[in-house]
Symmetry: C2
Subunit: 212 residues, 2 copies
């Protein structure tokens, strides 16, 4: 068996040092750098730094929202499972409505996916929230439709839906017309729940060992 | 707002058609094709098909193990959260030991990470199991150490640890010397819990709408 690093602190330090050495991070403010570094760390791909779209100050806005106690609204259980609860600054609620028993009926009534219907149940919690979408393009599209209807906007939308139907398109729509919300999104087909969780964790706690 | 596809069945069909059209799948047997397609679908990256390492018949072996009721052993909660429970063929146990209260003390005693120490608690369930590693290289390394000690091997190891310290190395070690276990792994730095879950779901249920 080859030897390998077993010390958690050394693993973290070496990981983040590699990311800093290889990634182009100079276009980001410090809070956004933490987001980019955690995203890269979560997926093992340096080049996601070059494909991030974000509104001015989005990471700072997201940090402030969490510090003020805003909820985290997730499109699926995997995103919620990846949020480090002890890192949240205000015991923030982490909410997933996808498996609410009302959702299948709502999806049928609305003629859409369960992921999109689940967003309907966020209406009362959206104002000033942190939204983390790591799976379903239809959830992001539906959220943008709600904002268009005048539902109060989240502080920040972390847009990481993934795949081949609607993922790139929903993130392009978010980036072009965020409808009053701050946003951080990975352009294109890539994304996923681990990235969405990593973005939340970066807003909550910055980087391990660094002041937030 | 641009128009977008809202029909879940159409989204699935179009997604998998895109994957089949763009990916090189001809080196895989049918069970392994389902794994590759679900992996690509989970991460949005066609080229992962070209970076999969696997033992002969690994996907078939994994399917048989699940059908026979073997447990799924996951290295973190996110992997378990992504396993579609209703798709499991035998109400299989999905086990995560990372947050067992014994783990921090074991990690300190062993001088390793919590993720590696958690694998110690798999000893009695490993024989013939399906192991899904979507986060920690040290969990995969530690598992290989257990196998080297003579602990009975899993049916298949789904190796998707991610990142910059040990991920590529642990998967290279698995591929070079699987120590009696079947395996499917993504070479290099990429990986993650969504891929590990997707591999389990492919073994459990094949592709949506296709006979398993």
């Amino acid at each position: 068996m080859r030897s390998y690093e077993k010390d958690p602190a050394a693993i973290y330090a070496q990981s983040f040092a590699t990311v800093r050495a290889e990634a182009r991070l100079d276009r980001f403010d410090p809070a956004m750098q933490a987001v980019a570094i955690r995203l890269i760390h979560a997926c093992g791909m340096i080049d996601v730094a070059d494909r991030l779209a974000f509104s001015f100050g989005a990471a700072e806005v997201g940090r402030a929202a969490l510090a003020a106690g805003s909820p985290v609204l997730c499109d699926c259980e995997m995103v919620a499972a990846g949020v480090i609860r002890r890192a949240l600054p205000a015991h923030n609620d982490v909410i997933v409505t996808l498996n609410d028993p009302r959702v299948p009926g709502m999806a049928a009534d609305l003629g859409t996916t369960r992921s999109a219907a689940a967003v309907e149940l966020w209406r009362d919690r959206l104002a000033g929230s942190v939204v983390a979408i790591g799976n379903a393009p239809t959830a992001l599209f539906h959220l943008l439709e709600l904002l268009e209807q005048g539902v109060p906007a989240p502080a920040v939308i972390l847009g990481f839906p993934v795949g081949f139907v609607g993922a790139a398109e929903s993130k392009a729509e978010l980036s072009a017309r965020p409808r009053g919300a701050g946003f951080i999104a990975l352009r294109g087909r890539r994304g996923g729940s681990a990235m969405a969780s990593a973005a939340v964790n970066a807003l909550a706690a910055g980087l391990p060992g660094e002041p937030t």
